[in-house]
């Protein structure tokens, strides 16, 4: 594995400040698993640190899809690139939903909920595509929806918006209850308040949940200890209950995560 320059195949603006990009990266795409991410590097060398972006999809022909929101220097630079341009990427990185899938395979016809909030929606696409079963897909937005149609071939799609402009007015938990869904297992990615809500919901309903976490990263490969989250079990690196999101995660059994 090494950082390499890959060529952008296509770029599309799919909502306000949300960009979808296909990149020709066979060596990354072929190894990618649901819930993993890549490190995207800036050409502007005043911005040294890699930008972690989740793997959204792969096409089986070497294509890798990233969907990201323009929030600052790095994502702006990436969004200004076009088909034919190059981009430096390292990946695939981290530990995805593999453990969740193993658990699901041991369950008897479980009702699986894939929950994505905002820019946590992209990784739920490859995730919902990667496993068979009874699948409900719950997508939470602030206002403008995106990618919801991409999900329809992988399960029943339910939407919530904070402003009520589409689907259930409220958050993803409201969406689950208002639609009378009763998942046996939840796989989720989204902002921290949403993930805390998932933890509470999963504890109250005594169900299994796996969540994908975010933190500022420097190395992206487990060496610098920048990206830790507090965990209930001791971590394999320092044995101090600080798991590395880039290496041990970004996906964790929600029971392991100490949000306090």
């Amino acid at each position: 594995m090494n950082k390499k320059r890959y060529q952008i195949i296509s770029k599309e603006i799919i909502a306000n400040d949300i960009v979808s990009m296909w990149i020709n990266a066979p060596d990354i795409a072929d190894k990618s698993a649901a819930g993993q991410f890549v490190s995207v590097y800036c050409d502007d060398k005043s911005a040294l640190l890699p930008r972690p972006i989740s793997i959204c999809d792969t096409d089986g022909k070497g294509g890798l899809r990233l969907v990201f929101k323009i929030v600052g220097k790095g994502t702006k630079e990436l969004s200004d690139k076009n088909a034919g341009d190059g981009v430096d990427i390292l990946g695939p990185l981290g530990n995805g939903f593999g453990e969740a899938f193993d658990k699901i395979k041991d369950m008897d016809h479980p009702d699986i909920a894939f929950v994505g909030g905002g820019v946590g929606i992209p990784p739920m696409l490859i995730s919902s595509k990667s496993i068979k079963g009874q699948k409900n897909i719950i997508l939470g937005y602030r206002d403008v929806t995106f990618m919801n149609e991409d999900f329809s071939e992988y399960g029943n799609v339910f939407i919530s918006t904070e402003d009520g402009s589409a689907g259930v007015k409220g958050n993803v938990i409201d969406c689950i209850t208002k639609n009378n869904l009763s998942p046996d297992v939840i796989l989720a990615c989204g902002p921290l308040p949403m993930l805390k809500g998932i933890k509470k919901y999963s504890e109250e309903n005594n169900i299994t949940a796996f969540v994908s976490l975010e933190e500022k990263m420097a190395c992206g490969i487990g060496a610098c200890l920048a990206c830790v989250c507090k965990s209930n079990e001791t971590d394999s690196h320092s044995m101090v209950k600080n798991k590395r999101i880039c290496k041990d995660g970004p996906v964790f059994d929600v029971k392991e995560v100490d949000f306090t």
């Binding site: 040294l48 390292l90 500022k216 060496a223 610098c224 200890l225 830790v228 989250c229 044995m239 600080n242």
Partner: protein, 300 residues
């Protein structure tokens, strides 16, 4: 053409090592970097007991650099000796073990344990707060530098590199204090204390408020301090601070460093160390340098 260097009596295949804390114990980079090609791996600071480190966010990017307050999270010396040293030995690389502590006794306990292992050298990080002296870093007071150096030297069976902090008025004073305490070598610079404010959240970017600035932004400070230190002591220097390219490494060597460590650059380019080693070899060929030692301190 000879890239080998003799640093305080230890021979290294080339002058390039990793800067402590940016490369773990090498394990995480082994998929990318052939560790046996490095002059040495300098490992993350290790203390006598495990340290949990600071709350997050622990890092923030800044223009041409970053600030960090990892807080020296580490598994403690016993795990380090059992797990990390054998791994690095297996990879065929030399090891410089970086040590942190909160009191002289902490440091000495770790140093004694490391003395019985296969590590090649010890690098002592004295930027840690000295709990006995009200949290002022050991490295900011020349008397403390000299006394901790001599205490460690008494207990160490390995050559000792004292790692100096740049957060001082006169670096030559600290370099001489380390030399007077009996240090075999010094390394510099550690990070420069900085701060970043998130103007949208109206709060500090780091949970710890302040953090150490590293990366290309600090390189000219490193060159200046290595030069000043080299001209005030007779012990050799491991230079670091913002090295991204082979040119940066050669600059530090010309200023007086015998070896050079690569830190933050690994985050932008995980293969930076290898590219720098290859770049130095090319430069030597192109400019007719037969022995890398010829350039050490050549700029007076």
């Amino acid at each position: 053409m000879n890239m080998k260097v003799n640093f305080a009596g230890v021979e290294f295949n080339n002058p390039i090592t990793t800067a402590s804390g940016t490369f773990g114990s090498g394990m995480e980079y082994a998929d990318i970097v052939d560790l046996s090609r490095l002059g040495a791996v300098t490992t993350k600071g290790v203390a006598n007991i495990p340290w949990p480190g600071n709350p997050t966010p622990r890092i923030a990017e800044t223009y041409g650099g970053m600030i960090n307050s990892i807080g020296l999270q580490n598994p403690g010396i016993d795990v380090f000796i059992k797990r990390d040293i054998p791994y690095l030995k297996e990879c065929g690389t030399k090891i410089i073990a970086n040590v942190c502590g909160k009191s002289t006794e902490d440091y000495c306990e770790t140093v004694e344990k490391l003395s019985e292992t296969d590590v090649d050298m010890l690098e002592i990080n004295i930027s840690c707060p000295n709990v006995r002296e009200g949290g002022i870093a050991f490295g900011q007071n020349p008397k403390a530098v000299e006394s901790i150096t001599s205490d460690i030297k008494k207990r160490s069976k390995k050559p000792v590199i004292m790692k100096l902090t740049p957060n001082v008025t006169d670096i030559t004073e600290m370099a001489r204090a380390a030399e007077n305490g009996g240090a075999d070598a010094i390394s510099l610079i550690n990070t420069i204390t900085g701060m970043k404010i998130d103007i949208n959240r109206r709060t500090f970017a780091l949970a710890n408020k302040t953090g150490g600035l590293s990366g290309p932004a600090i390189h000219p400070v490193a060159v200046r301090m290595v030069y000043q230190a080299a001209n005030s002591v007779n012990i050799p220097i491991l230079g670091m601070g913002g090295v991204v390219t082979y040119e940066d490494a050669i600059e530090l060597m010309m200023a007086g460093a015998t070896m050079v460590a690569v830190g933050t650059a690994n985050f932008n380019n995980p293969n930076a160390t290898i590219e720098i080693i290859d770049g130095i070899a090319d430069y030597m060929k192109r400019t007719g340098i037969n022995d890398i030692s010829e350039i050490i301190g050549c700029v007076k």
